[in-house]
Symmetry: C2
Subunit: 362 residues, 2 copies
């Protein structure tokens, strides 16, 4: 029966209780060095009796290893990141590591603060889904690296930063999804979730430019959309891309706007979950039905998508696997098995259901 000391016993107290030296108790409990079976027994018994548990802080102090990984994501309440964090967490637990999770609300300053917290707490490695757009805005990441902390990027690569990045092939996934829409006969395809700017860029190159200066995944998805258009020789129309705040409400507004034009989209490609629900609301208030009137494909599959009427064709992201692979890549760096840093690309799954149909004749 463990004692009820409100302050946990130290190794010295165990040693005293067992009537041995501090080092002997430490060797026994720490599992290193040699201890005779007899004393070992005594120490173990005393430790049991006092309810001894090693102070991980003290251990980290002297070994310089914290057995903790830091994880930085934009929003832990977002199911996508929830899956990623769980993957990282499960994989690191298997190696005896715990995870310190920091949520940045997609704010670069918070991300910088988060990196500093992790440096201060001397984590053994960091997985980060960074909001940094390029090497210039990734100074905090370089700083962590200069402190000798292994880092791995997840979900979002940062161009110009030479780190392992575990990502999904956003561009190809988007290209294939949009190609699927084109194959079904669509030529007017709306792109929902664009760059968060107030003014709609008129020229295609301005848009690409803009996208490349915003969130990496968004830029890749836009590129994939453009790729598919190019493949089929469809001319890009700036009116078919959403701009402004990335919220469900704004998606409703933007899709409604597209729908109200003279030449409205006959299909919608939505790059995030809230973009899908926003688009759906806009369709409903316009009295339009999915598939019959407007086809739709979205990113981030969910059990809900399968029970919609009609069931939604979606792109499923391997969230758990993303996390697991990121943790594995990080451990490889920690273990010094450093293959040159590179990109680990995971495939998405195109889940075909029933939200795509040929465009309505007009």
């Amino acid at each position: 029966m463990a004692s009820d000391h409100s302050v946990p016993p130290t190794i010295s107290e165990v040693a005293e209780a067992a009537g041995v030296g501090r080092s002997t108790a430490a060797r026994t409990l720490g599992g290193y060095g040699y201890v005779s079976p007899e004393l070992r027994e005594r120490v173990l018994a005393a430790a049991e009796r006092l309810g001894y548990r090693a102070n991980a802080l003290a251990r980290s102090m002297s070994t310089g290893v914290s057995q903790t990984l830091g994880v930085i994501v934009a929003d832990i309440a977002n199911p996508f990141f929830g899956g990623v964090v769980r993957g990282i967490s499960d994989a690191s637990r298997a190696r005896g590591f715990d995870t310190l999770v920091l949520s940045t609300h997609e704010d670069l300053d918070e991300e910088i603060a988060a990196i500093n917290v992790l440096i201060d707490k001397r984590v053994d490695g960091i997985v980060v889904a960074s909001a940094a757009l390029d090497a210039a805005s990734a100074g905090h990441i370089e700083q962590a690296r200069s402190h000798g902390i292994p880092l791995v990027l997840v979900d979002r690569a940062v161009p110009g930063v030479d780190l392992d990045a575990v990502v999904v092939d956003n561009r190809t996934a988007s290209r294939e999804a949009v190609a699927h829409l084109i194959d079904a006969g669509h030529r007017r395809i709306g792109f929902v979730w664009g760059p968060p700017v107030a003014d709609r860029p008129r020229r295609r190159r301005d848009l690409i430019d803009l996208a490349s200066r915003n969130l990496w995944t968004d830029g890749e998805r836009l590129q994939g959309y453009l790729d598919a258009l190019d493949d089929e020789g469809i001319v890009f129309d700036a009116d078919l891309v959403m701009v402004g705040e990335k919220t469900e409400e704004n998606a409703v507004r933007e899709v409604s706007r597209m729908l109200a034009t003279d030449d409205p989209p006959t299909a919608l490609f939505c790059t995030e979950n809230d973009a899908v629900t926003g688009a759906l609301r806009a369709l409903r208030s316009a009295g339009l039905r999915v598939a019959d009137d407007v086809s739709l494909i979205g990113f981030d599959d969910s059990s809900w998508a399968a029970v919609m009427e009609p069931p939604l064709t979606m792109i499923e992201q391997p969230t758990l696997a993303l996390g697991v692979r990121a943790a594995e890549a990080l451990f490889a760096v920690i273990d010094g098995e450093a293959a040159p840093a590179g990109r680990h690309t995971l495939g998405t799954r195109f889940v075909e259901r029933a939200s795509v149909a040929p465009p309505r004749k007009r």
Copy 2:
């Protein structure tokens, strides 16, 4: 410009670089005690130059405070817990605390291991959504308490454990939802997500018994269902409650079974998100429409529920607020403002949409 030492500088190095004593540097950087403006300036400059950051581990060692909270939930990938964790995380960040999140996969042994990890890492407090059913299975929680670590329960109270618990009024929310169904004229109401047992209990008291020996929230929700039935004098029918594994697949099976009986339910009350989607699949494959054929109310609102056809009437849980309140309650205990431990009950929001209609005449 900070130096690129791969091993971070210590306070002694800063002191040496500034040409002052270690204590003076410590007082300056630690922000305690007195230092003359001149030396302070020198120390600050040296720290800046070397890129000094205090080692939080060492600080925790000597102060005995880690500025870290532990959070234990069943599954961080579940959006419900995602919201709770984010609430805790935001609220503690505001107080300068970080959070160590452990996911237990709803397994009591993993939960015990998680508690031990948190004890070892000397967190200053723990928020736990425990899988423990009663005081007897909550030994690990008592153990943490005996180590002097403040604890607060979230989402799930544990009967017999004298700790603050921040929960939602599951019983009342369920009772009201089911009453809503009854008011609409329903008398055969299926309960989706029951006790995870293989054999269907025939008697009502056996069921209650069983429920009370399973997950707290589930038991409360079942009680609320029963309360509403009692209020209206509707007799309980064991065939209308789901049993077995709590998975979407099993929900599909169980709802299909109910639907295939002679006297099928005309309404369904689903106590979790996956129970809702499971029920929806079962309805679809039976060729039944929501509202027109079978009414439905579910727990855990989601943006998806609003875009379903018809939009689903749901019970929204205040996930973020649950986390924030839990953190606040924990800080109150940490600060020693210990009002006697009690239950903090947050309200749910009944979001009425269009999935409830009078039962079909037969």
